[in-house]
Chain length 227, copies 2
């Protein structure tokens, strides 16, 4: 199975690296391949340039968004929140009929720290993506925790904590639950309902950001205690 | 210690009843005492009229907001979200110098179900309350779970789940953590920081509402898993 990961930031790299290690064919999508390859300075978060990362992940291919989306049988969306909708809208054709696993968050860093959300409450990024990709099965998940935990939940409490899943297509959600288990070892995935329930999952971020500040570490997650 | 509970809905009743059973002097505040007493029909949520509840909780006194706020040494705010700010603003004098435990949520039922939030993301109800009550120590907590669990957390997983606390006054927060333990048995209270962190706790509600719909029961809570 060929997996396309859209986005070259730390979240995209973490998924691409893990999936490549697992033996999947992985293609990472970026806006302009040569520009991404020529970057030689750390980004604003201090992450090394993509080309340095690529040297340690030689099997991963880098393509422009359109070619990556075309090649991917399954798509993981890790494009930066603020440009997600315009980026994915331009890929409507390439993504048609496919499952897109949306792990992005609508974080707005323009008003200082901690970031706020540029869409919330009466709408969500998951819904906006589904709206511009009407023929794609958008499944929102994994956005509520740190990327290293996303791809390796069992390093924390032996995986005894939860993620959520939202989407309009029940079959696509069931497949994604299967991938999350097969790829990363996720045992606990709570189906919240249709894509509008992504509002609930995305609005966890403001709490996550305060917990990160309080706990002084990113390796935590929430568990829904029911009994 | 005399405790004032503002609000006669199910949340206010649950706290008032529990505290009265524990032997505290409890006064419940309402807008117009005689109107509350004369109500003889269930409310829109199907809860019995307050007067029926009062018969089972004979030690609880009912007063107008001003008299209740005056008498209370500690105040619990369980006024309906949409009228919280105007109600509390009118009590600035009575609440001056006191700790107000704000357990309310900014739920907006006017746009259908599930409710949305009428303030979120760049502000919170906790902050709005602190703004209109500058001489009161506003402590936000308990808003992230069902009222029956708020007052009896040990009925679920032996209390192994979390609540959050936000407020500008460290001493007031420490006192409230003590009350939560003494009154209700809370063992796990996470201090998120100043009152602006109430945004994080209040924005949990959209997730809570979807979980309620998925789990088909209100007796659940989240636990922050850290190791």
């Amino acid at each position: 199975m060929k997996i396309a990961v859209l986005g070259t930031g730390m979240v995209g790299r973490t998924h691409a690296g893990k999936l490549s290690q697992l033996g999947y064919e992985v293609v990472v999508g970026t806006r302009v391949v040569i520009a991404t390859k020529l970057k030689d300075k750390p980004d604003m978060m201090g992450n090394p340039p993509f080309s340095a990362w690529l040297k340690d992940n030689k099997k991963v291919k880098l393509e422009n968004y359109s070619d990556a989306a075309k090649q991917g049988e399954i798509i993981i969306n890790a494009v930066k929140g603020e440009v997600v909708v315009e980026t994915l809208k331009s890929l409507e054709q390439e993504l048609s009929g496919k499952i897109l696993i949306d792990i992005s968050n609508p974080l707005d860093f323009s008003k200082g720290m901690p970031p706020t959300l540029f869409v919330s409450n009466i709408d969500s990024l998951g819904e906006q993506i589904q709206k511009v990709l009407p023929r794609t099965k958008v499944v929102k998940t994994l956005n509520t925790l740190n990327a290293y935990l996303q791809v390796d939940p069992n390093q924390l409490a032996n995986g005894d904590h939860d993620i959520f899943i939202s989407g309009n297509d029940a079959e696509a959600k069931a497949k994604v639950v299967g991938y999350l288990k097969e790829w990363y070892g996720w045992k606990r995935v709570i189906d919240l309902g249709d894509i509008t329930t992504a509002r609930g999952a995305e609005m966890v971020l403001p709490l996550w950001l305060r917990l990160f500040s309080t706990l002084k570490k990113p390796m935590f997650n929430i568990k829904v205690v029911t009994e």
